[in-house]
Symmetry: C2
Subunit: 252 residues, 2 copies
Amino acid sequence: MQATLEQAQSIADKIEARAYDGISTKKILQMIFLYMKKYRPAIGYQIDLRQAIAMLRSKPDFEIFVAKLFEALGYKVETNLIIQGKCVEHEIDVVARKDSEIILVEVKHHVNHHTYSGLDVFLQLNSTLEDLKEGYESGKNNFKFTKAILICNTKVSEHAKRYALCKGLEFIAWKFPPEKGLERIIEEYKLYPITFLRGIEREEVYKLADAGIVTIKQLLDDIEKISRKTGMNKSRVLELQKAAKIVLGIRI
Amino acid sequence: MQATLEQAQSIADKIEARAYDGISTKKILQMIFLYMKKYRPAIGYQIDLRQAIAMLRSKPDFEIFVAKLFEALGYKVETNLIIQGKCVEHEIDVVARKDSEIILVEVKHHVNHHTYSGLDVFLQLNSTLEDLKEGYESGKNNFKFTKAILICNTKVSEHAKRYALCKGLEFIAWKFPPEKGLERIIEEYKLYPITFLRGIEREEVYKLADAGIVTIKQLLDDIEKISRKTGMNKSRVLELQKAAKIVLGIRI
């Protein structure tokens, strides 16, 4: 919900004037939403970003979403690989390459966005990376991984953060790193998930995601083509495309 | 359910004579139980061992149970430790020592005993052991671990087994290793869990386990003392002690 400082101040003043002791966070959010709508019409077409991401299915939706994110960052991606390590084969969600960099990407998606990703996730990632590196050295795979990154839609526990930093395991989580968290990357590249569109039905999300369409940017594609890939009727695809354009700030 | 070969043959003959097409496994087990009771009266006082172990709570019951198991094997045990690794502190279920051996014991208990312990458990254990070893080398802890063992009440997936064997991580699971699985150790040392007693109430299990009593051998202790530690009345403790003696084959 980008707003100018002036707009934010004006909204804060209005809410302060109407707030009362014991007002719920939900009520405050509703009020913010109401006032924001006046300043940015797109707000009327979108829901809370964190909630929107939680509404994606873990597989395949969020995995495809993460692949799109790395593509936006300039990486070439491969998804859903089985890679042989020194000891065993591993299911790898995403491999991202740029120049000499080859990143092992582990994707964690929680439907409850208040959950924390804990130490266990990084302990696993550390052993997986180790086995894959040893597998490369012994000629069992061709992936010369340079690092591993966890991408998750929740926060990461302090315990897990300390381990990750110590082991050189990177992660992009909700509001972390502070200047480049998941929400910042999404805003910067306008990589909003399709669930961000207000009023989109769960059934429609599944049809679109099953056809590999997980960001609203992808809804700008040819209507005929989207309709054919998803089995949705063209008039509905047109509606969603219009909403997508408004959210993306594209003149219609 | 130990039986002589002759007894087993006799029971098999009887069941064969009464079995019919489409008979359920449950029905067959019931029949085995019925006939076994004739040969070994203790059977009347006990339930299926695998089910009994699943009925323990994961914490603290099964953890205490595993500690008792290592004690029976001649180890000195410490439970529920927080040990500092090179990167972070780790919660360790059991540490078992004998001579120069110091074992990191990871305990996994599934209420559903049909679940498999998978690769993730061993990936975590590998990283935990690594961090603790590096912690010891850098003077952050005093535990010079010589190996790690997973103890679980279920089977282990083939994928996980291959990784564990390759990394030198040991495990004792249901019927694994074939000659020394969890069920064999329990039978050999008569380390039956209190839930093995037919008719013991869930509430009673909790009271006993909260007082550190998780094996029926521990029920042979002084009745007064057990009653005081658990808040259960003496007559009920006496009943359980009698049943325990029958199962353990002790003359009463």
